[in-house]
């Protein structure tokens, strides 16, 4: 595909795939609190529980809601640790599992190695979701491989009862000068602490055929439904705009099928989330899917809410391309953000 450099470049806007923005006029969390981002939501006994990243405090916060829409003022759940070099700057981007009566959290620790920032994945455990212990002084996963570069972040963990295995998807490949990670890796563990990386890593990479995700993919959220692993992920275009796409795979590792109307969640013109979308957290309700995402404007990042009626995610049958709701606007411009 030849790119006409003196033409129009299409930038996707709005939602597709049956997703509806419930917080159209103003976000659910943010505003005077400043930047709130990368959250994880669960529902227990009719109560919605959210852990989210709070940039001004460089901490992970906790809040609850009876309906997932209106949230209590948050409580500190996890702070940075000045005595721990790998998490002395900030802690963020939590993922939570409740198992055997305990909450297990994997999170991103930000630190310094020499003069360069680093990020690693840490582990904490709690019996109430508010007071956390960090049983290990070191991260449970460090950026070590060439593709992971200096930084890995955005852990997402599933525990699968049938196999007794923890499955971790994480983002890697950020550097001190780049804003986002490059690709998504996969690892497994018997105990959530000792992880074995998949030899096929990274298992999900940017696709230069799609302008909106041509540069990077990262910050995924995975859930199982109807024999598929569904994954939302952050795609970065050639200018480093962030949007959110959906893909699915039978094993969560290989043969990812992308949604024909990706990005399913792009910035919405004239709204608080106009400039782009980052991470999405999803739960299944009786009637469909609810999602919480951080969108951003020219001022800060804030958290809003999505709803998807029913469970048909709008994929075309396997092997078929499907129809793009926005219409096809193929475009392969050169990469700008690296200029």
């Amino acid at each position: 595909m030849k790119y006409n450099r003196n033409s129009y470049k299409p930038i996707p806007s709005g939602t597709t795939g049956g997703w509806e923005r419930l917080t159209d006029q103003s976000p659910a969390l943010g505003g005077v609190m400043g930047t709130v981002f990368d959250c994880y939501v669960i529902m227990e006994d009719g109560l919605y529980k959210m852990w989210f990243s709070w940039r001004p405090a460089k901490a992970i916060m906790y809040t609850t809601s009876p309906d997932g829409l209106a949230w209590e003022l948050p409580t500190v759940a996890l702070l940075r640790d000045f005595d721990s070099p790998w998490q002395c700057e900030e802690v963020s981007r939590p993922t939570i599992i409740k198992k055997d009566g305990l909450y297990h959290m994997w999170y991103t620790g930000h630190g310094f190695c020499g003069f360069e920032p680093t990020t690693s994945i840490g582990y904490a455990v709690s019996d109430d979701g508010i007071h956390w212990e960090r049983p290990y002084p070191d991260p449970v996963l460090l950026g070590e491989l060439p593709w992971e570069k200096h930084m890995i972040w955005c852990p997402h963990v599933l525990y699968e009862e049938e196999s007794g295995i923890y499955k971790l998807w994480y983002s890697g490949g950020a550097t001190p000068t780049s804003i986002e990670c490059q690709a998504i890796g996969y690892a497994t563990s018997d105990d959530g602490v000792h992880w074995v990386r998949d030899i096929r890593n990274p298992v999900f990479q940017a696709n230069v055929e799609n302008q909106w995700e041509a540069y990077k993919v990262s910050a995924n959220y995975v859930w199982k439904q109807d024999g598929w692993y569904y994954m939302t992920y952050l795609g970065s275009d050639t200018d480093m705009r962030a949007q959110n796409g959906l893909a699915r795979s039978r094993d969560g590792i290989t043969d990812w099928q992308r949604h024909p109307s990706n990005p399913i969640l792009a910035g919405t013109e004239g709204k608080w989330d106009c400039l782009g979308i980052c991470k999405l957290s999803v739960i299944q309700t009786e009637t469909g899917l609810m999602g919480w995402y951080n969108g951003f404007n020219n001022c800060i990042e804030e958290i809003g809410i999505l709803y998807h009626e029913g469970f048909d995610m709008g994929f075309s049958p396997e092997g078929e391309k499907g129809v793009n709701e926005r219409g096809d606007r193929p475009c392969r411009p050169p990469f700008n953000r690296v200029t």
Binding site: S7, S13, R21, N298, I300, N336
Partner: protein, 342 residues
């Protein structure tokens, strides 16, 4: 109503304009260099430009418009001044009767002692390097549309009218919003036009729905004033358009392929284009502009062979070279701007 679709961002150059060099001609290790004025005298190119890291106006010379001598500072902010105490920038220069006349923007930023404001000052020089300036500004924001800012002066000596005419930008300080005009017999006492602003954003054109400002007007030619202007889209991404008017004030006809100078994908100026300065050569035009990338702004050069700027006949719409612009888009930039950034 569905909110889903594509926003269309114009890229590259149209209307016969082409990049004249594949790299910026001023910038790089100097940091952000922006809003310049270029003049050609006796085969020598002279440039006055705004130098952001040091908040002053600098000057340089070049035999070809591409390779410039080391710049020297020619105008700085004035310590203690109530209107140009923090930064001076955005010069325009007219040479008349052997004297260089400069109008420029003096700025104050919000501090414990000052409110944010931009005014227009005046200086004169025998050599373009050593300047004598007036202590007081020659234009200040007074009208409602001017808000806290008048900036980006562009001045022509109108021989027919026997006066100077200034096109200037007014409104917000982080990028002005519209363009007004004023006239003066001496370049110091200015009378603003009662119909100001005379050029405002076009809400049905995404690329310039946010703001218009920072114009450069060519001397009247073939009965037209041709004006290059900076337009900002709903995300406040800047590109440069072209319009023309019979009297330089009313009935502006916009170029059908606007913006004629937009960011070039894969190039140093990919993120957007700001103010231009134009020199008429024997075979066409040369144009210096500040382009943006993710790090800073730098000054580049473009050219146009011949003098037909590509307007359709009066009354006709003409054809957009980029094709049909049927995208969506709204003004996003000021959404949630009442929130403290942290």
């Amino acid at each position: 109503m569905s909110n889903s679709g594509y926003k269309l961002k114009p890229r590259g150059m149209t209307g016969g304009w082409e990049p004249a060099h594949d790299r910026p001609v001023i910038g790089g290790p100097l940091g952000t260099c922006f809003d310049c004025h270029v003049m050609k005298e006796d085969g020598l190119y002279k440039i006055w430009f705004s130098w952001r890291p040091v908040r002053c106006i600098a000057y340089s010379e070049s035999p070809d418009g591409i390779y410039w001598d080391n710049p020297r500072v020619v105008l700085t902010a004035v310590e203690g001044s109530a209107w140009e105490g923090h930064e001076v920038n955005r010069p325009t220069v007219v040479k008349r009767d052997g004297i260089y006349h400069m109008w420029y923007t003096g700025q104050m930023f919000a501090t414990e002692r000052s409110c944010a404001r931009s005014c227009i000052g005046y200086a004169k020089s025998a050599d373009g390097i050593h300047w004598t300036r007036r202590e007081e500004p020659v234009l200040i924001p007074e009208r409602l549309w001017e808000n806290i800012t008048v900036m980006c002066p562009h001045v022509l000596w109108e021989e027919e009218l026997r006066c100077y005419r200034m096109w200037y930008s007014g409104g917000r300080m982080h990028e002005a919003d519209a363009i007004g005009i004023a006239v003066s017999p001496d370049g110091i006492q200015w009378k603003k036009d009662a119909d100001n602003p005379v050029f405002t954003p076009s809400l049905d054109k995404y690329w310039e729905m946010g703001k218009v400002e920072a114009c450069y007007v060519l001397p009247k030619q073939d009965g037209w004033y041709n004006m290059f202007y900076l337009g900002m889209d709903g995300d406040l991404i800047a590109n440069v358009g072209l319009a023309r008017s019979r009297d330089g004030k009313r009935n502006w006809q916009r170029h059908p392929s606007n913006p004629v100078i937009a960011g070039n994908d894969g190039s140093w100026d990919w993120s957007g284009i700001c103010k231009v300065s134009v020199v008429e050569e024997e075979d066409g035009y040369r144009l210096w502009y500040n382009g943006c990338n993710w790090r800073f702004e730098e000054i580049g050069i473009a050219e146009h062979k011949g003098f037909d700027l590509g307007f359709p006949p009066e009354g006709e719409d003409g054809t957009d070279e980029r094709g049909n612009n049927n995208g969506i888009g709204l003004i996003n930039y000021y959404i949630r701007d009442h929130i403290a950034r942290f």
